[in-house]
């Protein structure tokens, strides 16, 4: 793991920024930022695996992160017994019917190549009939489930397992979705993957929003169990009280900081593991082959490498990492809230991180994750201050001044876009460029 002085100093500068925020705003803000930065860095690592290693353009990060969030919710929330009784069998039967339909559709499609045009109709008909059967089984079940304890439940609930376990499940969910998308669109023109991922991510969000029996939809699931202690528990524990009295602030602050530090510790472990594995993979023969394919697909294919299946591998791996980060994010938030998933925030911001950090370099992706998230959050106070300073000469109620101050919040989109374009143009290799081996 070679890090030059230049790269180390950039990380040091980043640390300095957190310290500055700690002193200027508060340590609470600084630690909250840090936790989000770590998660962002992991997401950026996932995207970097796809783009930096293999040159795959995934515009669906949001969907994979949301699947991770779903996993966090499903793993940790206790099951709703009434709901399972009301519709568990129906849901299960419906899923079986759906699987059978897909299997039948594929089987018929494969066996009827000689039928010509009728093949389309036959397959379509089978899928349609299967779909109607599935709906007939699943609809009453969904209705029954959603009627159970509408105000507090109305969904199946989860497994009631420790939420940390969900980080793995989130990765598996995302990997599954990636397998389907990759199977369909890899091997076609490169931008089809981009469009397909854009589509699947939107649909995942719609699914999460509207399938209330599974996710409670827009009603949100709040109060997910934490992997770390609650502030209130800490405050009541005598050991903590005596420890906290050693600091010259009140116990609330110490408790809140402690909780955030616990998260930071857990997240750092994941970040380091992912980073380590990514680095190992990048240096392995597998990583070399990936880069060879990225740099010259035709030549690699001519040398007998199965480009499409390699791409599928790397696409699944990268998406899984994004799914893990998505599960961690929901863990940190303590709630699962489908409408908060927005492409600008969850897809394009991650891209900016990777490109600015340095495509193909894992350390770059981590640094990019830190820097971009930091400024994404801090842009607002900075922008407000800037607008205030710029318009200080105007009357306080001048329309332009009011408009500018109101718009300061939107400055960050514009800034991110400009930063992305400028980096792509003038420093396309990013802050920590890929090492050519």
């Amino acid at each position: 793991m070679s890090l030059s002085v230049r790269n180390l100093s950039m990380f040091a500068l980043m640390a300095l920024l957190f310290v500055t925020v700690g002193f200027v705003q508060s340590w609470d803000v600084s630690l909250a930022l840090l936790n989000m930065c770590i998660i962002s860095a992991i997401m950026a690592l996932g995207v970097n695996i796809q783009w930096g290693y293999a040159g795959l353009f995934n515009v669906g990060t949001m969907g994979f992160a949301a699947l991770g969030g779903l996993a966090a919710m499903l793993v940790s929330v206790p099951p709703v017994a009434g709901a399972w009784q009301a519709g568990g069998v129906g849901i299960f039967g419906g899923l079986v019917a759906a699987l059978l339909t897909v299997a039948a559709g594929v089987a018929i499609w494969r066996r009827t190549a000689r039928l010509g045009r009728r093949r389309y109709w036959l397959t379509g008909l089978v899928v349609l009939v299967g779909y109607i059967i599935m709906r007939a089984i699943i609809d009453p079940a969904v209705e029954a489930i959603e009627a159970v304890d509408v105000t507090t439940a109305g969904f199946l609930g989860g497994l009631g397992l420790p939420i940390v376990f969900s980080w793995l499940v989130g990765g598996i969910f995302a990997a599954g979705a990636a397998w389907v998308v990759g199977k369909i669109s890899l091997g076609l023109r490169s931008d089809y993957l981009a469009i397909a991922t854009l589509g699947i991510s939107e649909i995942i969000i719609y699914f999460l929003k509207f399938e209330e029996w599974l996710t409670r939809g827009v009603k949100n699931v709040t109060g997910l169990p934490r992997p770390v202690p609650y502030e209130i528990e800490l405050k009541q524990s005598p050991a903590f009280q005596s420890w906290a009295s050693g600091f010259d602030t009140n116990i609330e602050t110490v408790a809140s900081l402690t909780v955030k530090l616990c998260y930071a510790g857990l997240f750092s472990v994941v970040l380091l593991v992912v980073l380590y594995l990514s680095e190992v993979a990048l240096r392995s023969p597998w990583g070399r082959m990936m880069r060879a394919i990225r740099d010259n697909e035709t030549a690699a294919a001519a040398m007998g490498k199965n480009v499409t299946s390699r791409h599928l591998q790397v696409f699944i791996l990268g998406s899984a990492v994004v799914g893990i980060a998505g599960a961690m994010l929901t863990t940190l938030d303590g709630q699962f809230n489908p409408p908060t998933y927005q492409p600008l925030r969850f897809t394009f911001l991650i891209w900016v991180m990777v490109i600015i950090g340095g495509s193909g370099n894992n350390w770059g992706a981590v640094l990019g994750g830190f820097i971009i998230w930091f400024f994404w959050i801090e842009a607002e106070p900075i922008g407000l201050w800037l607008m205030g300073a710029l318009t200080s000469g105007m009357a306080p109620d001048h329309w332009l001044r009011l408009h500018l101050i109101e718009s300061a919040a939107h400055m960050r989109l514009l800034t991110m876009g400009l930063v992305l374009l400028l980096v792509l143009r003038f420093a396309p290799r990013g802050l920590i460029p890929e090492i050519k081996r």
Partner: protein
């Protein structure tokens, strides 16, 4: 007999008329995407935002006209403001090309680099929109709301079911027909249009024939900006202007372009209608139609809906997936204008 007519009127009212309008909007959007693909050879992720920003210019101009007391009679004032919006969008696209895309063209960058760059442009446009007009809904439709009201239709025909046609729907279809006719006339009948087709067909040979690539690219942007503004404005008039919606429209628009065959303008238009009508047919609740058609005893007690309306965007994705699996080149297998 009147039962059948009633059933048909329901279909016309809830599927055919909205489908024609929505299909026209998608077709114009897909035409823009296809044009950029055919000439500049990349999938323009900023197209949704180009539509949004063009519409924003139109809205600003509309407000200007309205405050000056200028209206367009029963038609929306936005139609008068359209040329202003188009002009502004053209300037914006040309400036973007000069500052951003031209560099990558000279570099002969790969398609995926263009894609990322267009994402950056999307970001900037989105920021500009929020900066200028804010993220909120804007309703800028004025003039007469309906051409035919449901009640009038019932009185006229004596049927139980009404057929309403909104002015914006009629305006959408007419404008789209005129625009598409103009585009095809340009591409097939004028020297410049033919040179664009030639460039898209075979760039090297076009250069050997003395066709100026910079001019072709410039005209492609002008047309794209105009098409995007028209499509966005028609959509905004028909529904409402929400900056976010245009980003979501990107998926059906791409789907339309791919279904028809990327780079093929006829395909783009056909694709637009395929997507629009599929969305509506699949998410329409057939209960009332079926009730008219079957004996009372067999009337359904469910909505008879294939997919809830919540999933209308999923429909375009499913069609996209089917096309990618079955015929990745699209229905019209096009690659050039």
């Amino acid at each position: 007999m009147s039962d059948v007519l009633n059933a048909l009127v329901i279909l016309a009212n809830f599927v055919v008329v909205p489908g024609l309008a929505y299909g026209s909007q998608l077709a114009l959007g897909a035409l823009g995407v296809t044009l950029v693909y055919a000439v500049l050879r990349f999938s323009n992720f900023a197209h949704g935002e180009t539509m949004a920003i063009g519409t924003m210019f139109v809205i600003l101009a509309t407000w200007g006209l309205q405050s000056a007391g200028i209206g367009f009679g029963p038609l929306p004032t936005a139609l008068l403001a359209l040329p202003v919006g188009i002009f502004a969008a053209i300037i914006l696209c040309l400036v973007t090309d000069r500052l951003v895309y031209r560099y990558y063209r000279r570099q002969k960058a790969s398609g995926v680099i263009y894609l990322i760059v267009s994402v950056g442009v999307m970001f900037v446009y989105n920021g500009l929109i929020r900066f200028v007009i804010g993220p909120r809904d804007q309703i800028f439709t004025d003039g007469q709301r309906f051409i035919i009201k449901a009640r009038e239709f019932k009185k006229m025909t004596g049927l139980n079911e009404g057929l309403a046609i909104k002015t914006t729907q009629a305006v959408t279809v007419v404008t789209a027909v005129v625009t598409v006719a103009a585009v095809f006339w340009f591409l097939n009948r004028t020297r410049t249009g033919k040179s664009m087709r030639a460039f898209s067909d075979n760039e090297d040979l076009a250069l050997l024939s003395g066709i100026n690539p910079d001019r072709v690219v410039m005209i492609a942007w002008i047309m794209t900006a105009a098409l995007a503004t028209i499509a966005g404005t028609l959509y905004g008039l028909d529904k409402s202007f929400k900056p976010f919606v245009y980003l979501q429209l990107l998926l059906p628009i791409f789907a339309a372009a791919i279904v028809g065959g990327v780079g093929n303008p006829i395909g783009a238009i056909a694709g637009g209608f395929v997507i629009a009508f599929s969305e509506l047919f699949v998410t329409f609740a057939y209960k009332r139609v079926v009730t008219y058609l079957v004996p009372d005893s067999m009337a359904p007690d469910t909505l008879v809906q294939f997919l809830s309306t919540d999933y209308k965007f999923a429909v375009s994705f499913v069609i996209l997936v089917i096309v990618l699996l079955v015929k990745p080149t699209g229905i019209f297998s096009g690659k050039s204008l």
